[in-house]
């Protein structure tokens, strides 16, 4: 008993043992660090060139990262936050916790992006994803009228969840609360993050899940399963740009800049399509995999960061109000 106890106590007390190389801590969302996500490849590639120890720390879904950083303030250990999105950029800037980056790159985004602090690393369109052999509603209205079940994410902790709220806001404006009202009985549950929702969907707890137009490509390429579809919606699809930024209080500013530059290089961008299943911010030399070009939606909905920030609070309240009844 005693040696085990001592060992456990030692494990609990000692944080990290090897401290010979500088450590860069990158706070990111859960699915980025999973074994099938971009994390492992990115870590190997960056550590090969930086002579440092890259620690990818999972902190829930994208929106939870921001609140975590706000709570930790300047005492945070994070040097870089990777996984906020266009809808959170204005709120993140207002915290004053982020510093401008030094990177310069020509970005392949479907919208103009010029921001000295928040640097895009990938982008994609949100979409409701379902199974090929089941009914496929063509709009939120049609979905609401059907008895299809849907699992979504909490807009307060998850960037897809927030994207959905702003998507409906952008598409329906004043009618958005009524749309949520109508969707209420279709929603099985609300998860804190994308990973939980997608897992529930795959386990069969729901017919549909909020994800991305490129999600079926994952099943097609990685699992050779053509049984999943992204449902094209008449309203158009909301665009998400995922960004990373340097934390102002970092003790590794050069290393953080180096990581952000690496983020737009081939070593990072090349693995994004088939690990994060998003469109890379800089199209890699090999081009895009199968199933990416074919799902580009006819209409793109997008709110610039300031517009998104202005609508975010009221839209989330409308969502909570409608679903809490």
């Amino acid at each position: 008993m005693r040696p085990t106890l001592a060992a456990l106590l030692a494990l609990a007390a000692a944080p990290a043992l090897a401290q010979d190389r500088p450590v860069l801590t990158v706070l990111t969302y859960d699915s980025f660090t999973s074994e099938w996500g971009p994390g492992p490849a990115v870590e190997t590639a960056f550590e090969a060139e930086c002579g440092c120890d890259l620690r990818l720390v999972a902190g829930g879904d994208g929106a939870a990262l921001l609140s975590r950083l706000q709570l930790e303030g300047e005492t945070t250990e994070a040097d870089v936050v990777l996984g906020l999105d266009s809808n959170l950029v204005a709120a993140a800037r207002a915290t004053g916790l982020f510093a401008p980056h030094a990177a310069e790159a020509a970005l392949d985004l479907p919208v103009d992006w010029a921001d000295d602090t928040f640097l895009p690393f990938d982008w994609g369109w949100f979409s409701v994803v379902g199974r090929a052999d089941e009914p496929q509603p063509k709009s939120f209205r049609e979905l609401a009228e059907s008895d299809a079940s849907l699992v979504i994410q909490d807009p307060r902790s998850s960037t897809p969840g927030l994207g959905l709220v702003l998507w409906i806001e952008a598409a329906y404006g004043d009618e958005a609360p009524a749309v949520w009202e109508a969707l209420r009985d279709n929603i099985v549950t609300v998860t804190p993050g994308w990973s939980e929702a997608y897992n529930l969907f795959l386990e069969g707890e729901a017919d549909l899940v909020l994800s991305y137009t490129t999600s079926p490509a994952y099943h097609l390429i990685a699992e050779e399963d053509a049984g999943y579809v992204a449902l094209p919606f008449d309203e158009g699809h909301y665009l998400q740009v995922e960004v990373a930024a340097k934390v102002a209080s970092t003790d590794q500013p050069e290393l953080a800049d180096r990581f952000l530059a690496f983020m737009l290089s081939e070593g990072f961008q090349g693995v994004i399509p088939t690990t994060n299943w998003m469109y890379p911010a800089v199209t890699p030399s090999a081009g895009l995999p199968e199933g990416f070009e074919s799902v580009r939606p006819a209409t793109t909905l997008f709110l610039a960061p300031e517009e998104a920030e202005a609508l975010r609070g009221p839209a989330v309240e409308a969502w909570r109000g409608a679903l809490s009844q």
Binding site: L71, S157, R184, V190, P192, S195
Partner: protein, 508 residues
């Protein structure tokens, strides 16, 4: 209480500390609460909190009445073990219970598999009914013990008299007894369910099934909205304070469960229908309580192979927190028990009004400007766990101390043993069994508790229950079950070690 030679100053200090923590955390909450007022969703959280607690209390008590009656009037092999088992869920980590319920009622659980075989639609455990189901599972044993106590407090002679006079036992004895006991049982379970966090976190389904406790967590972790959380915490504080007061006022005071061992000879319950009914009540309750636990343990054994690497560190942190919380609880409880009187009573009751997340939010407010959250995480968790366990530890220690003082107090006085010498020479050796029991209680509660740690933990700071909640959230049920088994073993093991340690040394 008569004034004795036991030290009284530490008790006053302990009371001051408890009051400072329970009421002091209100000050930053009052100051921190925003002026925003409550939104529709906040009121919905309040409504849901009240609704689920009321339903949970009603269903638990309604089911407990036939079970308690059956236990009160039947003798059968294993009855003693079953009554003892009814005390165990108090030590059972809530999150492990949820996992067991998921194994039975979840999508891939036994019940749904059976329904699918019969061609019936599957049931979902998420939402209000899932939350109530879990609360009934956790509180049915307590309800049964409280009501069983009511039955056994009826003198056996009265049943004999009723039988001789051919009087209706239900109208004359049982209904008046239940009318006296049931309100207290309802209030106690209602109060316990108000602070539900883990159950709503895992089985709640979005804004429609959010308790206040969960809304506090979401305000902090999702929105960094500390002012909004403070507002909710104040509301929760008022609610729990009122409910705890109500429960104490009505409580039958049968937490000890002494004298539940006997069954009363009953002449009115010899018929076949009564026998069958009782057998069904006891069998059904035993199955409902044991099956999920057996399933959780079984899955846990399978899950041990899938344990994530973080588990060793989490176990170490859980153990550190539990030992810290236990030490603090024992010191506070001992000091308060020696002090006695109203002050100890009030200080021992205050933590019941403050839930883990309310205390956590208050401390977060106090500490955040000065200390890194990560630094504060484990000490704050231990502190909050210690306070949560204090009322129960005090209830275990105070009667034992009073008895020792009654027996040996005068001799100790005449020998001039006062202050710390009295504590060392007289009280501590004789108190060992009670200290062991109270310590075991505190340690087991702390190991299984998911509360304040969820507010504070940074990367690599999870305790076992938090790690388990995260694994369940990621749908890694096998690994979660493995962690659950570790929590269960650690909780019961700590309880056993403390309890046993207290008793053997007393005998030596």
């Amino acid at each position: 209480m008569t004034r004795t030679g036991a030290p009284r100053l530490p008790g006053a200090l302990a009371a001051l500390m408890v009051a400072g923590l329970c009421l002091g955390t209100l000050v930053p909450l009052l100051r921190g609460a925003g002026e925003g007022g409550f939104g529709a969703a906040d009121w919905a959280a309040l409504r849901f909190t009240l609704l689920q607690a009321a339903l949970s209390a009603l269903v638990s008590v309604a089911l407990a009445v036939p079970v308690a009656r059956a236990l009160a009037r039947r003798r059968f092999p294993g009855r003693g073990a079953l009554v003892t088992l009814l005390g165990a869920p108090f030590l059972l980590p809530v999150i492990v219970a949820i996992l067991g319920l998921l194994a039975l009622f979840g999508r891939g659980g036994l019940v749904n598999d059976a329904l699918a075989l019969l061609g019936l639609p599957r049931l979902s455990i998420y939402g209000l009914h899932g939350v109530v189901l879990a609360h009934v599972f956790l509180n049915l044993p307590l309800a049964t013990r409280l009501i069983l106590q009511g039955w056994l407090d009826v003198p056996a002679e009265r049943f004999r008299l009723a039988a001789t006079l051919n009087a209706p036992v239900w109208a004359v004895i049982e209904r008046p007894m239940l009318a006296r006991i049931v309100p207290g049982a309802l209030a106690a379970i209602f109060a316990l369910c108000l602070t539900s966090f883990s159950v709503a976190l895992i089985l709640g389904g979005g804004p429609a099934a959010t308790t206040l406790e969960l809304a506090i967590y979401q305000a902090i972790r999702f929105e960094a909205d500390v002012a909004g959380a403070a507002q909710l915490a104040l509301l929760q504080y008022l609610l729990c304070g009122a409910a705890a007061g109500l429960a104490l006022g009505l409580a039958p005071g049968a937490m000890g469960g002494a004298g539940l061992g006997r069954a009363v000879e009953r002449w009115d319950a010899q018929g076949r229908a009564a026998r069958t009914g009782d057998a069904l009540a006891i069998g059904g309750a035993a199955l409902f309580l044991l099956l999920p636990l057996a399933l959780a343990a079984l899955r846990g054994v399978g899950g041990l192979a899938e344990l994530p690497p973080e588990v060793a560190g989490a176990a170490g942190r859980s153990l550190l927190v539990a030992l810290g919380a236990t030490a603090l609880t024992l010191i506070l409880a001992l000091a308060l028990a020696m002090r006695g009187g109203h002050l100890a009573l009030v200080a021992g009751t205050l933590p019941l009004a403050a839930s883990g997340l309310v205390l956590g939010t208050g401390l977060l407010h106090l500490l955040r400007p000065h200390v890194a959250l990560a630094t504060a995480a484990l000490p704050v968790t231990a502190l909050v766990d210690a306070l949560v366990a204090l009322p129960f530890a005090l209830r275990a220690l105070a009667p034992a101390l009073a008895e020792i003082e009654a027996r040996h107090g005068r001799l100790a006085d005449s020998l001039g043993l006062t202050g710390l010498r009295r504590l060392r020479i007289v009280l501590l050796p004789l108190l060992r069994p009670a200290l062991g029991f109270a310590g075991g209680l505190a340690a087991a509660l702390s190991v299984g508790n998911l509360g304040a740690i969820a507010l504070f933990a940074a990367e690599g700071q999870a305790t076992l229950p938090l790690l388990m909640a995260r694994l369940m959230g990621a749908y890694r049920m096998e690994a979660a079950a493995g962690v659950g088994l570790m929590i269960l073993v650690l909780a019961l093991g700590l309880f056993w070690a403390f309890d046993r340690g207290g008793r053997t040394r007393a005998a030596a």
